[in-house]
Amino acid sequence: MIIQYSFYFMNFTKKHLAAFNISCRVLIALVGGYLFSALSAVLIAQLLPGDEINSIITGLMLSFIIYTVIVLFVFATKTTLRAGVGVFIPCIVMYVFYHYLNGITA
């Protein structure tokens, strides 16, 4: 929201704002989506019980479905900010959790 207000102050037109919003969403969808799906694949691989190879392959195969869902989410949410928060906060949580897990097992 803050970003959007500062845009009005800086005398940008609505058109510029829309272009900026869309570029942001594309970035969040592609980069954030990749991070999100890769991290969840890692966690699936580590948390699924049983054989390691099986879990890794399962994680990898699910990652594309997760990626697709994330991209849909990013473009369906109301504001760009919400999309960014919705993608990157879970990424940070997963990243921390991944290190917490490895700290215990190592």
Partner: protein, 545 residues
């Protein structure tokens, strides 16, 4: 709220598709051609002598062994492919070790044998069907990994396009049975729906499995984080996931004929001949499709060469029974594969087999091919719709996109025809001939783009379609003039692969010509016309609607 959701999904559908439409069209067309890899190969190597009568397995083995001993004495692996319905010729191949003096890397060689005489049939240097279909994921001019990543990204966009496409069509089945001919944009949308919905399961399968096939590269950080970093660990991961359950038993060789028995009385000896005899005795109802030796030249005594027999591999190598024989402590050990150990690896296997369709017989293969072309047609119609929606206020940019659409949608088939033409027209002695076949494909594609940009916007589609029709129609004639394979000769010799290829080319030519005739110029154009090869199928669908 709901309509807003659908609206944003519609936006995503449009632009995700727009971003990669040309590349995806390229991937679908070249990938579909992969289903006829062997048939294209046969056409591009017209010298190969086909086997039209049954030859004794041992006779083939003898002549193959003679040639391999001469040509590949220091090779680590030997293979012999028996004639089958899809590959009616005798092929030997071997893995030649690297030769530092000649600067040759370790590579596979293959030669074809003439039936009965057992002599090598020299074939022209060609890229063949394999290089053509590999274009759909390695893009040839970029390093392999870059090609995999770009195609993976494009495929992800395809998946997004498919999912959003399903979301935005609330009445997907009602719309499926709607065809409003002669209504411009609406007609194109209806055609787009037909091409998308009818083979939707195929599109989803091929897209998802395509992503999964390259997942080790596109999501390699995941393997880094979970299994181990670096090339070596990745290789170990692949090897471990490929582990198979095996049934091992120590056996005595079945000896059908007495001469062999005498040979074997002293100590067990493995040779291609003895394993072939044994395999034939064990599986009486199956035909042998491949024979091979692995680790031929291992010097130390711990590892012995392994002799392999594939049975019934005609319907795709993945369904073949593989017997491998090896000497262990003076005893013969027979190993039969029982499939992958890891259940997730089995699912991966199924997806891979579904994607490649190697198991498919002739009819299913055509269905695969046509489904792939329907995918290409879906993408082509989407490009046309994108332009039509913006045609009321045409800017220079939109006209340029329309022209380039023509350069891709019709230009790519023309470029592929150029690939086939170059196989017949380039001098046989030319160096790097195989490479130049591929260059001609891309040179012609670039030439098509230039032509389309220069040509007047309202004539560009029509002229391109006529060019495509001409180059395809002339292909069988070119084949007749440059080789002795005329349509008539193919019928007389029973060379169905050659005949099938030539007839398919004529059929494509007919489709392009029909599209060009039906294409009306001007504003009110193209209501009933289709700019792709699959026109006929679409007609069938429309009639039922």
């Amino acid at each position: 709220m709901k309509s807003r959701f659908r609206q944003s999904m519609g936006w995503l559908h449009t632009w995700a598709g727009f971003a990669f439409a040309w590349l995806l069209f390229f991937i679908f067309v070249t990938g579909s051609l992969g289903y006829f890899e062997n048939e294209i190969d046969r056409w591009m190597k017209p010298e190969i002598a086909i086997v039209d009568d049954a030859i004794d397995d041992f006779e083939i083995l003898n002549s193959a062994k003679q040639q391999l001993t001469v040509l590949a004495s220091d090779a680590e692996q030997w293979y012999l492919a028996y004639p089958s319905k899809r590959n009616p010729y005798i092929k030997i191949s071997w893995l030649q070790p690297a030769n530092a003096e000649l600067g040759m890397p370790k590579q596979w060689h293959e030669e074809y044998l003439a039936p009965h005489t057992g002599k090598i049939t020299p074939t022209r240097e060609t890229s063949g069907g394999e290089t053509l279909y590999r274009l759909h994921y390695n893009l040839h001019y970029v390093p392999a990994v870059v090609g995999y990543l770009i195609t993976s990204l494009a495929t992800l966009f395809m998946l997004i396009g498919l999912v959003t496409g399903v979301i935005i069509h609330k009445k997907i089945f009602i719309e499926f049975f709607t065809f409003r001919a002669g209504k411009g944009l609406r007609a194109w949308l209806d055609v787009h729906n037909v091409f998308s919905v009818l083979p939707l399961p195929f599109h989803l399968m091929i897209t998802y499995s395509g992503l999964v096939l390259l997942m080790g590269i596109s999501f390699s950080p995941v393997i880094d984080a979970t299994y181990g970093e670096g090339k070596k660990m990745h290789r170990q991961f692949y090897n471990e996931s490929k582990t198979e359950n095996k049934q091992q038993q120590t056996i005595n060789l079945n000896t059908a004929d007495l001469s062999l028995k005498a040979e074997l009385s002293h100590k067990p000896v493995l040779s291609l001949k003895t394993v072939l005899t044994d395999a034939k005795a064990r599986y009486k109802n199956q035909t042998v499709s491949y024979l091979g030796i692995i680790d031929r030249n291992i010097a130390d005594n711990t590892e012995q060469p392994s002799f392999q027999v594939w049975l019934d591999g005609n319907e795709g190598i993945e369904f073949a029974t593989l017997l491998s024989y090896r000497l262990v402590d003076g005893q013969i050990q027979l190993e039969e594969s029982l499939g992958k150990t890891h259940s997730a690896a089995k699912i991966y296997d199924i997806l891979e087999h579904l994607h490649e369709g190697l198991f498919a017989d002739t009819y299913l293969r055509w269905l695969y091919f046509i489904s792939g072309l329907l995918g290409a047609a879906m993408i082509a119609t989407s490009m046309i719709i994108w332009v039509k929606k913006r045609q009321n206020h045409p800017t220079k940019f939109i006209i340029l996109i329309d022209k380039l659409n023509a350069a891709v949608v019709v230009g790519l088939p023309i470029a592929i025809a150029a690939y086939f033409w170059s196989n017949r027209l380039l001098p046989l002695a030319m160096s790097n001939r195989a490479e130049w076949e591929l260059h001609s494909l891309f040179i012609v594609l670039a030439a098509c783009a230039c032509f389309c940009i220069v040509r007047a916007a309202d004539k560009v589609w029509k002229s391109m379609l006529w060019i495509a029709a001409t180059v395809y129609a002339l292909l069988p004639i070119g084949n007749m003039l440059t080789t002795e394979h005329s349509l008539l000769a193919s019928v007389q010799q029973g060379d169905w692969l050659m005949l099938g290829f030539d007839l398919s080319m004529l059929c494509f030519a007919g489709c392009f010509a029909l599209a060009a005739v039906l294409l009306k110029t001007g504003q009110n154009e193209t209501e009933l016309t289709m700019k792709t090869n699959v026109k006929k199928n679409m007609k069938g669908v429309i009639k039922t609607c």
